[in-house]
Amino acid sequence: MSITSPRTISIPVPGATLLEVEHLTVTFPTSAGPVEVVQDASFRVEAGDTLGIVGESGSGKSMTSLAIMGLLPRGGTATGSIRLNGHELLARSDREMRRVRGDKVAMVFQDPLSSLNPYYTVGRQIEEAYRAHNGGSRKNARNVTIEALERVRIADASRRVDHYPHQFSGGMRQRIMIAMALCLEPDLLIADEPTTALDVTVQAQILELLAELQRETGTGMIFITHDLAVVSQVADDVLVMKDGRQVERGTAEQIFSRPQAQYTRALLAALPRIDDPFDRLKGTS
C-alpha cells in the first residue's frame, strides 16, 4: 500500500482461500475444570472478502480472533487447525508467530485509546510495527508512517505524527490503529469491534475507510461485532456465534434473508425496524 515500502507487494488472488479454520476449540483451565470458550468453529475467509463474526458478549468471537493471532491470554490453548495461505499456524512457536503477527495478520481493537500506549507518539508506535518486520532506517519508517496516516485521512499527517494518542479524537485514534495495522500490508485484517466505542457518524466513516482500503489492497478481513446492522454493511459471509459455538454460517444474503437457526432469527428480530413502529423486543434465547 505504501510506495516507499521496499517489499514486493503480492496482490492476493481474489477468491483464493486466505484463511481456513477447522474445528477450532479454545480451552481455558478453571478451578472447576477446563472450559471451552470456543467449540469446534470452522470457517474460511477468501482473499479480498470480509467475514463478519456476530454474537453477544462472551460468545467466543474475540477468543477466536486471538487464537488466530496466537495471542490467547495466559492459560488458553487452541486445538484444531488454522491455516493461513495453506500454512498451519497452530503448530508454530511463538517466535514463528511473531513474524505472522502484524505482517501477515494485523488487528484493530475495540477501544483505540487504551490500545495505544499513552507514553509514545503515534508515529513512533506505527514506525515500531513497520520496523519490527522490515527493519530499515527510522527515517524510512517515518515516511511510511506519514503516508499511512495520510491514507487513513489524518489531516496534516507530517505534524500529527509527533502527537500523542490523547491529543486525537476517538475516531482519529481508530484511524491511527488502522494505519498501524495496514502499514505492513497484511493479508488478513482482524477488526475486533472496531466501531463499538465510536459514535454513529464516526462509525460510518471508519466502515467506509475500511471498505475503501480493502478494495485497494485486496486484504481479507474478519469483522467481529455484536451489531447486525454493521455486519450487513460490510460482510460477504457471516458466522453467528453463541456461547462459544457457531450457530449458523453462510453468505450475508442467506443470513439476513433466510436465516436458518432459531438464534439468528431471534437476533434479527431484535433489530429495531423503522417500518414497524409498534415492534416489541422478542426473546432471544
Binding site: L71, G102, D111, S115, P118, E128, A132
Partner: protein, 331 residues
C-alpha cells in the same frame, strides 16, 4: 511551560515560609526557656534577662521570627560589643550548647548523610525495580513468592533491628567487615566502603522492599493494559514489549516516591546513623533532641522540610517530561 515552572517555584517558596513559621511558632511556644538552659546552675535572674536580650528572646514573637528569617538571608549578630557572636548567612540559628552556628553544624555533617543516601538509593532502586520486575513477569512462580517474602521481611523488620543483626552477623560472627569507622574516602577507600556498606544495606533493604511491591503491582497492571496486546499484535518480541511498552508506564509513578524518599534521607537517617555511629545530619538530630538544643532541632527540621519541598518540585517538573499527558495539560 515557563509559566508553569515559575508558578511551581513560587508555590514552593510559599510552602517553605509557612513551614518556617509553624516550626518557629512551635519552638517559641512549647520549649523551655533557652536562656535558663544557657545560664546553667549558678544563675541569677539578672543574668537570665541579660541572655534573653542578647538572644533577642525578650522581643515579641513576630520580631523574633523576622530576625530568624532575615538571618537566613543576611546573617545576624547575637549580642553587642566584644561579646557579640557573628552568625553568617545563611544563619539558621546559633547553638549555645556547642557554641557553633547551626548552619556550620549541618554543613559539616551533610557529606555523611549524602553518602548514606546516595549509596542506599542506588542499591534500593536496583533491588526494588529488579525484584519488582522479576516478581511481576514471573507472577505466581517461586521467584515471585521468594521476592515478595523477602519484601515482606524488609517492610516488617524495623531497621534498627536489621542494623544490629547485620552488625552482629557480618562484623562479630563472620568477621567479614571491620567495625564501621568514620574515615574519608581519600584516606582509605576500602575501609570507607566497608564502613558505609552496612548502613547502605540496612536502609536499602527497607526501601527496596516497598519499591519492589509497588513496581510489581505497577508492572502487573501495565501488562494487562490493552496497549500491551497491541504491541504483541504488531509482532514485537516479548523482551522488547516489556522494555519499551511496560517499563515506562510502570516506573513513572516510582519517580514521585523516589523524590520524597531520597529527600527524606538527605535530611538525615536518624536511626541508621545512630546505630552505626555515623556523624551525619540524622545523628545530629538525635543528639540535639537528647540535649534539647532547640536552635539545632529547628535547623534540621527546616532543612528536612526544605529538602522535601524542593524534591517535590523537582518531581513535578520531571513528570512533565516523563508523562506526555501531564506535559500537554500543563503547557
Amino acid at each position: 511551560m515557563l509559566f508553569y515552572f515559575a508558578r511551581r517555584i513560587l508555590a514552593a517558596i510559599g510552602v517553605l515560609l509557612l513551614i518556617s513559621l509553624f516550626t518557629y511558632a512551635i519552638f517559641f511556644l512549647l520549649s523551655p526557656d533557652p536562656a535558663v538552659q544557657i545560664c546553667g546552675k549558678t544563675c541569677t535572674p539578672e543574668r537570665i534577662d541579660q541572655i534573653r536580650s542578647q538572644l533577642g528572646l525578650d522581643l515579641p514573637f513576630w520580631q523574633q521570627y523576622w530576625q530568624f528569617l532575615s538571618g537566613i538571608f543576611t546573617g545576624r549578630t547575637y549580642g553587642e560589643g566584644a561579646a557579640a557572636i557573628q552568625c553568617a548567612a545563611p544563619c539558621l540559628g546559633f547553638s549555645f550548647q556547642t557554641n557553633e552556628p547551626v548552619t556550620d553544624m549541618i554543613t559539616t555533617r551533610m557529606p555523611v548523610s549524602i553518602t548514606v543516601a546516595v549509596g542506599a538509593a542506588v542499591l534500593w532502586m536496583l533491588a526494588g525495580i529488579g525484584g519488582g520486575l522479576l516478581s511481576a513477569v514471573k507472577q505466581g512462580t517461586g521467584w515471585d513468592r521468594g521476592v515478595m517474602m523477602t519484601a515482606l521481611a524488609g517492610i516488617s523488620l524495623p531497621n534498627y533491628f536489621v542494623a544490629l543483626l547485620l552488625q552482629y552477623v557480618l562484623v562479630v560472627q563472620l568477621r567479614w567487615l571491620p567495625f564501621p569507622q568514620s574515615v574519608q574516602f581519600a584516606e582509605d577507600p576500602l575501609l570507607w566502603f566497608q564502613s558505609y556498606l552496612m548502613p547502605w544495606l540496612v536502609l536499602a533493604f527497607g526501601y527496596a522492599a516497598m519499591y519492589s511491591r509497588i513496581v510489581r503491582t505497577n508492572v502487573i497492571d501495565t501488562l494487562g493494559q490493552n496497549f500491551m496486546r497491541t504491541a504483541r499484535a504488531k509482532g514485537l518480541d516479548a523482551p522488547l514489549v516489556l522494555r519499551r511498552h511496560a517499563l515506562r508506564p510502570s516506573l513513572t509513578p516510582v519517580v514521585t516516591l523516589f523524590g520524597m524518599d531520597f529527600a527524606g534521607l538527605l535530611g538525615g537517617a536518624l536511626i541508621t546513623e545512630t546505630v552505626f555511629g555515623l556523624n551525619g545530619v540524622g545523628k545530629l538530630t538525635a543528639d540535639s533532641i537528647a540535649k534539647n538544643d532547640q536552635p539545632v532541632i529547628m535547623g534540621v527540621t527546616l532543612l528536612a522540610a526544605g529538602l522535601v519541598v524542593i524534591a517535590n518540585m523537582l518531581v513535578d517538573v520531571a513528570y512533565t517530561y516523563l508523562d506526555p499527558r501531564v506535559r500537554v495539560k500543563s503547557a
